[in-house]
Symmetry: C2
């Protein structure tokens, strides 16, 4: 059987740029996983891991021009955005190196023996060990920060887990370039290059999730693709954790008081959040509750003006463009839905941003309006005009899980006693992993307290794929009972030779 070539495609023209690789055969996937598995012992030393992550960040920064050019040629995201994404990516690698140095991710807990208890308590010392080989499924829309050198890879390596990345077909050349830099950094840190593997091809992705030596997976992508892999992970003879980020509507609620206070500012800000990266953000606001009446009208007008002024955008690939156009057509045809600024084609390879509008009552009682409650990837949002908090609450009550929920509140609502705004906070907390007030959900800060996840389908687990605690996904606890000090891992020895933070109980 001939190898299936993997082409790098220019989304601005739809033309094949170069033949980058071939799709991995089952044998090749097996080889990559086995090589990674064999290399895992080399990752046991924390100092080496931290040096590796910092070295990788340095090599990526040093090759910034090359990396940004490669990614732009394949994704059309533009050098500005991609330069920022690279900085975010290398910052993330360094942040995980810092987390490794600091050590609290090991969650060391020590209970001293207590013979006075009934029954007597033995000595227990617990920390966390890496799971083993992690499969990383790269995202289309972040060729760096959620792909080969992205958060899943960085956090897994930080945890001590080798990774095999399944490249996204939208940026195979960028993937190869980044993988080669990571592998070079590994070797420079004294590690085998095989701690980072890369495979191409849909079937290779399925092989990977089913491989007995793969111990966990991270995924960023669509509900359909993510659910298929989640199901495969759960159906294995030995099921493994599947940390997937699948889809999110990211509702926004604009209160009447907020619209009265700053309708134009909110409308313009919303347009920016909807069109950033051509609307290809997992945290793009996809449903916006705007009050009925003149203040809401002013907001919609400002949104319309900004969107109409936005130039056409190129989506990541042709299929995505078709899905966007079909999704918009389907939604615009629903009863009661208007398109004040019609989203649609913008030349042969681009799309024009826009928004749809519908009354809350139509949405709630229409019966066929479910598509409005589903993510539509690309530069479009749905404005739902509501009358009274009860109606807004009813719409929120129809939503599934989300990565984010945003409230636009007036100054007084933010400063005063909770009241209705407090009730909104409570309601969206049930819906989402991150609550934003008077800002926009786009731009997920890489920070220790970040949470990028949420109830299904936002995420398939309760973990985060961004921020300090993302490392927790790739570790499992082990307790050592009455183990002599000389035989304990260094992390748990009484003298604490690694200087780790730890919680000690008793004695």
């Amino acid at each position: 059987m001939a190898a299936t070539p993997v082409w790098s495609v220019d989304p601005r023209t739809g033309k094949q740029r170069e033949r980058v690789a071939v799709e991995a055969t089952p044998h090749e996937v097996d080889g990559a996983v086995r090589a990674a598995h064999t290399a895992r012992a080399a990752l046991a030393d924390a100092t080496t891991r931290a040096a590796f992550l910092r070295g990788a960040a340095g090599l990526l920064d040093g090759a910034a021009d090359l990396v940004v050019a490669a990614a732009d040629a394949e994704t059309a995201l533009g050098p500005g955005r991609l330069t920022g994404e690279l900085a975010r990516t290398t910052g993330q690698l360094r942040a995980f190196a810092d987390a490794v140095d600091e050590g609290s991710y090991l969650d060391v807990r020590i209970d001293r023996a207590d013979p006075s208890l009934t029954p007597p308590r033995p000595e227990l010392r617990r920390y966390k060990v890496p799971l083993g080989v992690v499969a990383v499924y790269a995202a289309s829309n972040f060729p760096l920060a959620f792909s080969v050198p992205g958060g899943d890879t960085a956090s897994a390596l930080a945890a001590g887990c080798p990774v095999v990345v399944k490249a996204h077909p939208d940026h195979p050349a960028t993937s190869e370039l980044c993988a080669s830099l990571l592998r070079r950094a590994a070797v420079a840190a004294g590690l085998p290059a095989e701690v980072v593997g890369l495979v191409h091809g849909f079937d290779a992705g399925l092989e990977l999730i089913r491989h007995p030596l793969v111990s966990a997976a991270g995924f960023t992508g669509s509900i359909r693709g993510g659910r298929a892999l989640f199901d495969a992970a759960a159906a294995r003879p030995v099921p493994i954790p599947f940390h997937g980020e699948l889809g999110s509507l990211n509702p926004v609620v604009v209160t009447g008081a907020a619209a009265a206070e700053r309708a134009e500012e909110i409308g313009t800000g919303l347009a920016g959040a909807v069109t950033l990266g051509a609307g290809q953000f997992c945290v793009k606001p996809g449903l916006v509750l705007v009050p009925d009446g003149p203040d809401g009208d002013r907001l919609a007008d400002a949104l319309a003006k900004s969107l109409a002024e936005t130039g056409p955008g190129v989506l990541l690939d042709h299929r995505m463009r078709e899905n966007f156009l079909a999704g918009v057509r389907e939604r615009a045809a629903l009863p009661g839905v208007t398109a004040p600024v019609a989203p649609g084609p913008g030349g042969d390879h681009a799309v024009a941003a826009g928004f749809l509008s519908v009354g809350a009552r139509d949405l709630l009682e229409g019966g066929a309006h479910e598509p409005l409650l589903e993510e539509c990837f690309g530069p479009v949002t749905v404005v739902v005009r509501y009358s009274g908090q009860r109606e807004a609450a009813d719409v929120l009550g129809r939503l599934g899980g989300n990565l984010s929920a945003t409230l636009q509140l007036s100054r007084a609502e933010g400063e005063g006693a909770p009241g209705p705004a407090g009730e909104l906070i409570r309601q969206v907390t049930e819906l989402a992993g991150r609550i934003v007030v008077n800002g926009w959900p786009t731009g997920v800060a890489v920070a220790p307290a970040q949470h990028h996840g949420g109830p299904y389908p936002a995420a398939t687990s309760h973990s985060t794929s961004v921020g300090g605690t993302a490392i927790e996904r790739w570790l499992r606890p082990v307790a050592y009972q009455s183990v002599p000090d000389a035989l304990l891992p260094a992390e748990l020895r009484e003298a604490n030779p690694l200087g780790l933070p730890r919680r000690v109980t008793g004695g």
Copy 2:
């Protein structure tokens, strides 16, 4: 359709004692879940939850005579063991109340805004919120500590999640009694009784796992039953976490030096661990690597002597007794397997303890010896005689995941440099959630650093069902970005009115 009665059965005679309840219909399961879901808001206050847990412990202790008598009549575990189990259970309820008071389970993290960063970092405040209604599947072998008032229930309530327990058919009357005490404690603490629900019946258990308002499940039981529920949890339109403890062989390795030092002590101790609770412990040592030669022979002799002196034991139910007898027969018939003390029937309703013995080479090369690597519930263990560390390592390499692994080492092996004992520690860390040296795995201490879980099939997730971190299973993180102080949950406010431990970054 007539209701299916639920009978309490005396395992010492096989006779029905009393009709306790009826199996829950789908409508009744729905009612219990909805009532629990409605009651969840009442659990939001941490002080109330802690008082509830302590009140429940008090009521259970106050009714100790009743509870122990009820459990003994249905399980034949004996008043001594059950009195200890009740103390463990109420101690566990109080320990989770203490954890609620202490507050670090909320894992509060605060990142102050940093406008000097590129891009500027917004303020982020993260903590954890309860998932919602938790389904708890009670274990056969611990009618208290892993059943209605057990660790899953205690940790879920501590997290703020109402529970609906699926009673185990081996102790329906004990389950009803304990549920009534928990519900009385709830009401005394000012909570709705519906924060604790109870249903009976196999089908009710399936209804429960599929119910849209159930948000997570805890399970202790067999691989077959647990895997079926795990699969159902994963197949839901909205999958939920399933924390199951399914099965474990709990390997023990006795080194040559340890056998030389104290063969008789180890053999006798092993007999005690194998017959405790008639061998019905999930951490019963089920496979013991004993060195070839005279020291190993002395160990086997001491084991044989102790087991032969152990009186017959009554298993939890008739089906379990049949499975034990069939399991022992199947294993004893394998080539090369001997039965130095034959386990088997011990009167009409009891069983006699014993052990099987096999050479490591027979086990490794026999081809049909897989059953020896699977848990056999009841008072039996398999002694594998090995020659040299390499052979022991080969046997360990054939095992799946385990709750525990135990090493019996000589004094010198514990005190000296790691060497071969260190290599054993490293190998069993890959296999198990808890490593015990020179003790026995039975008796899982309720303690902050405990870990009772392990690679599949020991557990279906990387969490623990015993110890302080068991509460983590029922919570998910939420981050609040730029939310005004007045609108934040009290747990996250700047002034820290609840006095919670927190990690603050920046500013």
